[in-house]
């Protein structure tokens, strides 16, 4: 989470008077102007979910490279590197691109077909490339060379110490990322650095801005992914000071079912609610459960499968005539890996192709319908891990059409019993939004989309786990 938005006036969806497309174009124009001006060593762009971050990166990379400025791109995962190469090679078919990768990397099908893309483990072997793209981990192993420009993608996922290791490779850089996503973490105790401006546990952007507070920070104002039903909710809960709006109107997006729902009971009612309003809360009876709550996992699986069974069709600006919601357009998100394994086991063969993953791994991805197992469902306590705003934000901002939250009743009581007790440290910027408050805000909204019958008739009475 960024502290950078702290001092901004409270905005919100109503602030924009320009049409969304125009507003976004202007911000991108300002970013590119800042880059070309050469006045700043760094430019930061905050991008809410689905606001066209990759488009911006591809465009900036293309323009800098065409202006003859040798350029490197630093992404966080191999998948992100391949994504960027794929998009950049499509956008600029003439541009020679180098992919810096580990020795044992074999090029994926996506990037094999481009004749302009070269793959090598050493920079020296990528001589003719205008743009060299690699992961931060790989760039950290490059001992020398200095490029006029770097683009750091997903910079809020990058740890400050990772930036320290690569910052010697560039003079100036564009940092792009989503401040609302999960903070970087470590497996070891890092308390001894708390409060230092270079605390290695902060995100790269946080460290950058604490040392260089004069750098320009831009914000992409429009989410092209989130529907009109979700953008204001997510913006208010997770981006309270900067806000963003939906790029589409409610009329442009709709979700419907080709098969009528007979016998689905509460599951069907939740899906109908989600199709009509964009949100649904599928509530199970209050109970303290193991982390792998069997009923909740079963409910997630049934909801996901039911979307397939009922032949959901999504109408959007991309496909005004409607496109079927196939398995690869559905995701189920949870907080823990064992929950993911339990849900996948419940899905069985019928659910092949449905994505089930943790919040960490869903970052940056997009689906039509997303089922979320609420991180606090069935818990006795609300730990910092489960309250983290970024976790919930990732889970409820992956969808283009509808989001169904599966939860045990009693989460708001749980939140009330566990107010934030994180210690306040000197010289540490206050983090916004607070996870507790973000949870309350989101729950408050989703609870209005609860089907009153679901609690009573959802599933057979609980047995011993």
């Amino acid at each position: 989470m960024s502290s950078s938005g702290l001092l901004m006036p409270r905005g919100g969806a109503g602030r924009l008077v320009l049409p969304p497309g125009e507003a976004a174009r202007r911000v991108i124009g300002e970013v590119l102007a800042d880059l070309h001006s050469g006045d700043h060593r760094g430019v930061v762009v905050d991008s809410p979910p689905g606001a066209g971050k990759s488009t911006l990166v591809v465009r900036a990379a293309g323009e800098l490279a065409e202006a003859g400025e040798p350029l490197i791109v630093i992404a966080q995962t191999n998948e992100q590197v391949d994504d960027l190469i794929d998009r950049l090679a499509q956008a600029k078919p003439e541009l020679p691109i180098g992919r810096l990768s580990a020795n044992d990397y074999t090029a994926t099908d996506r990037i094999k077909n481009y004749s302009t893309v070269r793959v090598a483990a050493k920079v020296a072997d990528l001589g003719g490339s205008s743009v060299i793209i690699g992961t931060a981990a790989k760039w950290a192993l490059v001992p020398e060379g200095r490029w006029p420009w770097a683009i750091v993608d997903e910079a809020y996922q990058m740890r400050s110490d990772a930036l320290l290791r690569v910052a010697g490779r560039f003079d100036r850089a564009l940092f792009v990322g989503d401040p609302g996503q999960l903070d970087p973490f470590s497996t070891v105790e890092t308390e001894r650095w708390t409060g230092l401006t270079w605390d290695p546990m902060q995100s790269a952007v946080a460290a950058l801005l604490r040392h260089n507070p004069e750098l320009p920070v831009h914000r992409l104002p429009v989410s092209w992914r989130l529907p009109a039903s979700a953008a204001p909710v997510v913006a208010e809960a997770f981006y309270p000071f900067t806000g963003f709006s939906a790029g589409t109107t409610a009329a442009q997006r709709s979700l419907s079912f080709t098969a009528a729902g007979f016998g689905g009971g509460a599951v069907d009612e939740a899906l109908e609610m989600a199709a009509a309003t964009g949100w649904a809360l599928y509530e199970l009876p209050a109970r303290h459960t193991l982390r792998t709550d069997g009923e909740a996992a079963a409910a997630c699986a049934r909801l996901a499968l039911r979307v397939l069974e009922r032949g959901a069709v999504a109408v959007s600006e991309r496909s005004p005539g409607g496109a079927p919601v196939t398995a690869d357009r559905i995701a189920v998100g949870a907080a823990h890996r064992d929950q993911v394994a339990a849900i996948r086991a419940q899905l069985g063969a019928a659910g092949d192709g449905i994505t089930v993953d943790t919040a960490n791994r869903l970052q940056g991805r997009e689906y039509d319908v997303v089922i979320v197992l609420h991180p606090l469902s069935g818990r006795r306590d609300a730990t910092a891990f489960h309250l983290e705003a970024g976790r919930l934000c990732v889970l409820v901002s992956r969808h283009r059409h509808a989001c169904v939250v599966v939860a045990r009743a009693g989460i708001s009581e749980l939140l009330d019993a566990h107010p934030s007790t994180e210690p306040v440290h000197l010289n540490v910027p206050v983090r916004f939004p607070d996870g507790w408050e973000a949870n309350q805000a989101l729950l408050g909204h989703v609870a209005r989309h609860r089907d009153m019958n679901s609690t009573a008739v959802s599933l057979p009475s609980p047995g011993i786990q």
């Binding site: 400050s160 110490d161 320290l164 910052a167 010697g168 070891v188 001894r192 270079w198 460290a207």
Partner: protein, 507 residues
Amino acid sequence: MSTLTALARAEAVAVGQAQRITTVRHLHVADRPLVFIPLSMAGEANAPLAALVGTVPDDPRLLVVPQPRNRDQRFGFAAELAEVLLPYLDSFRGVTEAVAANRGKEVRYRYVDAPQVLVPNSAGIGFVRMFGRSTRFRRTDGDYPVQPSVPLLGQWLTFLADRAEHPGSGMLLAMTEALGLHWATGQSALEDAHLAALLAWIDPADGLSGADAAVVAEDPLRWPPAGPATDPTFDNEMLAPAMAAYQEAVGSGDEVRRSRARGVLEEAVRSQLGPTWELMWRGVSLLRELPVGSRVPGRWAEDRDVFSTFTLYVDGGGYPQPRRDGAVNAAQRLHRLERALQSYAVQRAYDDPLVMADHRLTGEAFVGEVTLADAHRIDDSGKRRVLRPRIQVTTGDVVLVTAGAVLHSPSRPGQKARVVFVTPDPASGRTDVVLELSGGLGRSLSPAPGSVPEVGDRLCYTTLSDSFMPPGEFPSREETPWTHGGPPKAYEEPVEPSVDDAREEWS
């Protein structure tokens, strides 16, 4: 908490005695450890009140600060502690051994043994860290001069406390944590932090169950808190009157009265420290009874290395450790700790089937029997013909690895096994895994004897790898990039303590 530890805790409740969660000991226990039990005074940040320290069970040395609020007495305590600790550290600086460095091109020397300091609990480690911080910047001249041994003590205490953060290091250990690493009790983690209650579960007195013995151990009269915080009732009813009496005796100028009052005070704090002293040595002997894990000496060698390096630094007149880590130092230290944590976790699993069992439950490892073996299989698809034996392992464990994954076997280091096929058999619940072996086979196209598992062998394969991880590269401190504030400022570097440091508010 892992699944098996949770199970062991449940069993401990059912049986009424602590359960072992390892088959071997995962830490080094020195032949001559230094046991150090510090007490601090309530209401004063890290003000030493007393300590019991020594290397022999029947010869503890008692250090007492009759007035912990007095700055001179506080650093007098530091000087006394230095009298015990520094000779102890020096006693390991005898015999060295040669170690090949830089791929055999150089030789460096390290001591064959190293110090090990044991404190009762993690708060004790906190005391060591804070006391090191309060003593290492003191000066021997100017305002508030201290004995020359005091800043040196501070450097060593800081060194030990820093080392205690390093996963797998055994130079400064908390007894509760050392025991908790090997036993699971039927009480909460909070109760486990009380050394007496923890030992009651592990080694209850005759005839009592662990649970009953732990209840007895909660009596602060019989088993006072293991420090550094003291029992408030003791503070009010014994310590405060004894301290006041001592103050009065000092004020009266009567030497006999003063020494009698000091005797009363010493007896009072000894009554608080004595029982913990006993427990510490019981803990040491319990740990010694466990068979040691095969990778423990390797980790202790690392400790010896670090100890040897730091003695050179101190001998060379090295300045005290800086107050804060600079940007590069912080990143490097985090990197070192993360690597150490990972390697420590892998080494424990490799050393101990019971720890590995946790990884089997999560699908990161499986144990099975070799059911087919083709030891002479040659792969001639590449430019060169290479020996690539294949074996099939049949297991009843959950197998979550997929084709292409590279596995290792704890009993066959240096050999990689690439997963070729995974074939579950739903009827029997067993899974066949076909593995292709490379490495550790000898140089010819036929495998060296014993280098390929034979049919009937029972083996463990896991995704955990104990192989060497190259350390990360970082810019030098002077090259700290602009994104992190540029080159470090003076106070992030080790420097000679200034006059201002000597005046630092620590009282």
